[in-house]
Symmetry: C2
Subunit: 343 residues, 2 copies
Amino acid sequence: MAVSTGPLQSLQRRFADALEREIERWFARVAPEPVFPGMMRYQMGSVDETLQPTGRTGGKRFRPMLCLLCAEACGGIPERALPVGAAIEILHNFSLVHDDIEDHDPDRRHRPTVWRVWGEPQALNAGDGMHALAHRALLALEASAEDKLELAVAFADMALQLTRGQFLDMSFETRTDVSADDYMEMISLKSAAIIAFSAWAGAVIAGAPARIRAELYTYGRHLGRAFQIEDDIQGIWGNPEQTGKQPAMDIVNRKKTLPVLMALERGRGRDADVLAGFYRTRGGDVQPVLQLIDSLGVREQTESALGHELSLARAALDRADLAETDRERLVSLARELTGGSTG
Amino acid sequence: MAVSTGPLQSLQRRFADALEREIERWFARVAPEPVFPGMMRYQMGSVDETLQPTGRTGGKRFRPMLCLLCAEACGGIPERALPVGAAIEILHNFSLVHDDIEDHDPDRRHRPTVWRVWGEPQALNAGDGMHALAHRALLALEASAEDKLELAVAFADMALQLTRGQFLDMSFETRTDVSADDYMEMISLKSAAIIAFSAWAGAVIAGAPARIRAELYTYGRHLGRAFQIEDDIQGIWGNPEQTGKQPAMDIVNRKKTLPVLMALERGRGRDADVLAGFYRTRGGDVQPVLQLIDSLGVREQTESALGHELSLARAALDRADLAETDRERLVSLARELTGGSTG
């Protein structure tokens, strides 16, 4: 694997430390007792199970980095977006803590999930605390009262979309009539809304005109969909050493991700019976299902859908009249986040 | 039981319909599909398990009613506080949905809890959606941008206190070193913070001076503690037909409520062994523990603590220089909410 020199790494070099300080500033205010904020820090990757510092962070922090990059691309000072970036990252991690409880996922980022370390009730509380803290952190932004209120309203609307997307995702597991359209709506809520908000908020903080804000929202929305489709690809065909999850976990959990829905649509005769039978039950052997999904050509079809979203993201950037270097950074970021080195 | 003619009923007559409309306005915006907002409506009492209207509401809505009353007592228009009242009630119910998951409580308000009807993962999502919606509903307040931001910051801080209080409450179940002081801090966060916010927010909306706002916060804080102590009394000695819960559920769940902590402090010799043994295990017979708690005189001691909080609440009102009728309504409300007809 080549050493990454993409825009994300460049952003991380410039802003990662400041972002972590901004996030930690909020955790330090949560409580005098160590465990409640400790669970939050553990989720963010900065401490281990015994609450000792790890000296690193978990996750790429790409949503806040996108927010800072969009602020800069619109002529703003990226550092001013740090409180919003912290709010976005804390909100994102709240949703991961609760998703892991709901899915009973044992591992995340190569470590036991919060519920496995502290139990489901306290993991639920840690997530709730992070959710409240995210709304609080956003309001620390230095901006006009009107801009802050516009951002707070959009942030709350987005958080609601996020939770509704998670509801839909879970409901798909027991439904047998889920279409690819249903799926795209679900990921627009669950995954794309927070990424679209991140890009849009950067433009708002930079004082960009309404038309540019809207185009960056559209860019973020398609990038978010592409990112989720890439995640679905990783959830089936990803290398466990890179994902930090067990292999084919999305199949084990009967998650109705895009490749699975495509396979269910494509499978005929005995193939359809094998798939339907597997998705009607719990347990059972994953290998035959994996082989079947591969043989139906679903991986190529999924990658084509991903490419389509990336092209729509790029078209929105073209309409936004950004400087060429800024446009190129946002295109490269989209490419980097979705695993592609070209396209 | 005499027919209630207290201030709460009077407030409900005036504002209950408008409050329910304000709450429903938000649920109607949540999603086109019925189940996600349906779980929220079920929690609020307005629909049954099949999502058909019940024609009533669940709960007294006393927190928003307190907010409206405080706005009026400070010379404001109570209706203007309705968006904040809706936010408070939605936030309160989010916390109940998650508490019921954590405690595995089977019933609330004479009906199965949300997790029992829709399963834990979706109940968790419904609660998360209500949490996001509460922050959104607050921002619909018609007020100056500065006032809205002050309320939004305090609301997010309060939501964080609420979740931290719930964390502490759960952690007490497995700790053996919990003091009555620890307990009072916990209920100040878990129960009193939202009630203190409700009273304070009413004063803010009415444009009351800072000193009056602070006294109403103090009033709400002590009222909230008194209310929780009364809830603890009901959780052990309450009539299941009135509480809608199974009898002595707090003992069954090993909740370290004030009466239990007092009993653990008072018990000596064999009594101490019986109590310690029960609280070290799960399961076991509740009756001997109930009898022991009664024999230790703990009920009287708990009621004395409740009376102390009520007197502190009244003292804050005395310092707030309200009109005599307004002061009297707030004193009566505190009395009504804590089960006392005198004192």
